[in-house]
């Protein structure tokens, strides 16, 4: 096909969602954040809820999520996004409210807030990026860091005696009566991206059905923190993260 045919509107097979801003992302090449942002933007566009969606960004690499999605944003203190989301949804129940949190934010400093928001069954969407490391502060141990994994604060590998065990917080969340949908997904290949997109859409739909909290963990890569190339990071994730953090729905009701 000639180039002039390829660029005809009827031959268009993919376009950037208008919900994504024309901004150069600060994320490292290979990082999962950009892909998850793109999925959220597409879901907001497809559901036509750009005017009704309020995002709450965390502290960590994705603090700047507000620079990339053209919606109204609140930027929370470290770990507190579920508290902000609770008030926002209760005060404006006709809005779609989601938090976007990393593993340090959600599973360490913000453990109380996420547990209680989920337990109250707040009608919010939680998107939990688990890359088993603190990205923004330079690769320190996260609550989800695997045993033996080397980080800036576990230079000899995570040792259970010294550092405790990796926290499967998503399984804990699934035990709470307030949650209606708890799933673990990933975005390292097109099939995984499609599954995650379906999960995120379902979660947004749930939030208007008074069913309780929808929680989506996305097992993710941090190739800079892991000191691996993007391709090698994907392989490391599949070989090491997936056995400990198995993918799939944990709860759906």
């Amino acid at each position: 096909m000639e180039i002039n045919d390829i660029i005809k509107p009827e031959n268009k097979v993919y376009g950037k969602s208008p919900v994504l801003k024309d901004a150069v992302m600060h994320y490292c090449p290979g990082c999962s954040h950009g892909t998850v942002h793109k999925i959220i933007a597409e879901v907001i566009e497809e559901m036509d809820i750009q005017d009704k969606t309020i995002g709450i960004s965390p502290v960590g690499c994705s603090v700047f999520a507000y620079n990339y999605l053209e919606i109204d944003w609140q930027q929370a203190a470290h770990g507190r996004a579920p508290a902000l989301a609770t008030a926002t949804k209760r005060l404006m129940p006709d809005k779609y409210v989601f938090t976007y949190q990393g593993d340090g934010d959600l599973a360490s400093i913000g453990t109380a807030e996420i547990m209680h928001a989920c337990n109250r069954g707040e009608n919010i969407v939680v998107i939990f990026i688990n890359n088993a490391i603190y990205g923004m502060t330079g690769g320190q141990m996260a609550p989800t860091t695997l045993l033996g994994q080397v980080t800036a604060t576990t230079p000899y590998g995570r040792d259970a005696k010294l550092n405790g065990f990796p926290l499967k917080i998503t399984e804990l969340i699934a035990q709470l009566e307030g949650t209606c949908y708890v799933t673990r997904q990933s975005v390292q290949n097109p099939a995984a991206v499609r599954k995650t997109k379906r999960a995120i859409r379902k979660a947004f739909e749930n939030s208007m059905m008074d069913k309780g909290t929808s929680f989506i963990e996305v097992v993710s890569t941090c190739n800079s923190g892991w000191k691996l190339s993007p391709v090698a990071a994907n392989t490391w994730m599949e070989e090491n993260m997936f056995p400990f953090y198995p993918l799939g729905d944990i709860k759906d009701r």
């Binding site: 999605l69 109204d72 944003w73 609140q74 203190a77 507190r80």
Partner: protein, 360 residues
């Protein structure tokens, strides 16, 4: 005549919140202010005005719920007592850093640490000088009656929205627990969606209409120049607040040779000290700061030249006296008398100290 009802200071906060169109209250139980949330829960305002009332899992969560609600331009508040306010200071710093309106009530108890559940005024420094991190200020109102507790809720929200800044009602266990008659005010309805859009759509997270870009409520600025410009802007706002919002009351200061400065419940006790002094022919008066930030600097400054002595009387080890000394600037002796841990001095006790001081 407006209706008068007998109620506790803490109950007055709750009734005033419903009455003035508050959108949401988020709190965590702590003595001596738990009646605020208990009253709200019993009144069920979600069935009448639509006000949200929620018991949070901690004070940390309470203030961050307030943060989320304030991002939406809603009239939101919390209440707590000293140890709980310490936990909220992170959130207060964020609220100030995002220029968000909100109301926080501190019914002070004695500290430090877990301290006591008895009344105190020992959070003056925390309330007026920061508490959380960074160069920020909280507007601080000091009630001295149950009527003040009731009226300052509406006033607090007015000031919070006027300056887009956190406002604190700094009461104490005495004012929170005591019962007095309160004159009720005409009810204000909660803001409608249209009023909210008109007032807050330029900055709040109300959902992005097609007509504007997304609003971002954040206090993050990694660029040093941007952060400095924002701080200069904040300081300019605080200068305006200092110039325009200082509130105070005086009691028999016109002819006074001596002055007591006291806030909250202590200002009322010190009015009785004035009577004891005047029986002995000593012309004593009281300056009662109503706003602790902004401090009524000009009012105190203007009174200093006529005084032979000033005494600051507080339920702490000497906090406000630092501001009194700063403003008096060595022109007149400044004394201090305080009790801690829940002990409340009698007028006679204060008068005895006052007489000793002026005879030195």
């Amino acid at each position: 005549m407006a209706e008068k009802i007998l109620m506790k200071g803490n109950e007055a906060i709750a009734y005033a919140a419903i009455n003035c169109g508050c959108d949401g209250y988020f709190g965590y139980p702590i003595t001596p202010q738990s009646e605020v949330m208990e009253t709200l829960m019993a009144e069920k305002p979600w069935e009448t005005t639509g006000m949200v009332v929620l018991q949070a899992e901690s004070e940390t969560s309470s203030i961050n719920m307030v943060y989320g609600g304030a991002c939406c331009g809603k009239k939101v508040m919390t209440s707590s007592s000293s140890p709980g306010i310490s936990l909220m200071c992170e959130g207060l710093s964020y609220l100030a850093g995002c220029e968000l309106p909100c109301l926080v009530v501190n019914v002070m108890r004695g500290g430090p640490g877990l301290g006591t559940i008895q009344p105190s005024q020992s959070d003056y420094f925390q309330a007026t000088k920061g508490g959380g991190h960074g160069d920020y200020r909280t507007i601080v109102l000091a009630p001295s009656s149950v009527q003040d507790m009731y009226d300052f809720v509406d006033l607090g929200f007015e000031l919070a929205f006027k300056y887009r800044n956190p406002v604190m009602i700094l009461g104490d266990g005495v004012i929170g627990q005591m019962m007095e008659k309160v004159e009720l005010r005409p009810a204000k309805p909660r803001r409608t969606e249209e009023e909210l859009r008109a007032l807050c759509d330029s900055w709040a997270t109300l959902g992005k209409p097609a007509s504007r870009p997304g609003n971002i409520v954040t206090s993050l600025a990694l660029d040093a120049d941007v952060m400095e410009r924002f701080n200069i802007h904040l300081q300019k706002k605080y200068s305006t607040i200092e110039a325009e919002e200082a509130r105070y009351e005086t009691y028999k200061t016109e002819d006074a040779d001596h002055l007591i400065v006291a806030f909250g419940c202590m200002s009322r006790i010190c009015e009785n000290v004035v009577e004891l002094a005047r029986q002995d022919g000593i012309k004593l008066g009281v300056l009662r700061p109503i706003t602790l930030y902004p401090y009524p600097e000009k009012a105190l400054d203007a009174l200093v030249p006529q005084m032979k002595s000033i005494m600051s009387v507080e339920l702490n080890s000497g906090q406000m006296v630092e501001d009194v000394r700063r403003i008096a600037a060595g022109r007149v002796p400044v004394h201090f008398y305080g009790r801690q841990g829940g002990a409340i001095p009698s007028p006679e006790e204060i008068y005895e100290v006052f007489v000793k001081n002026i005879k030195k």
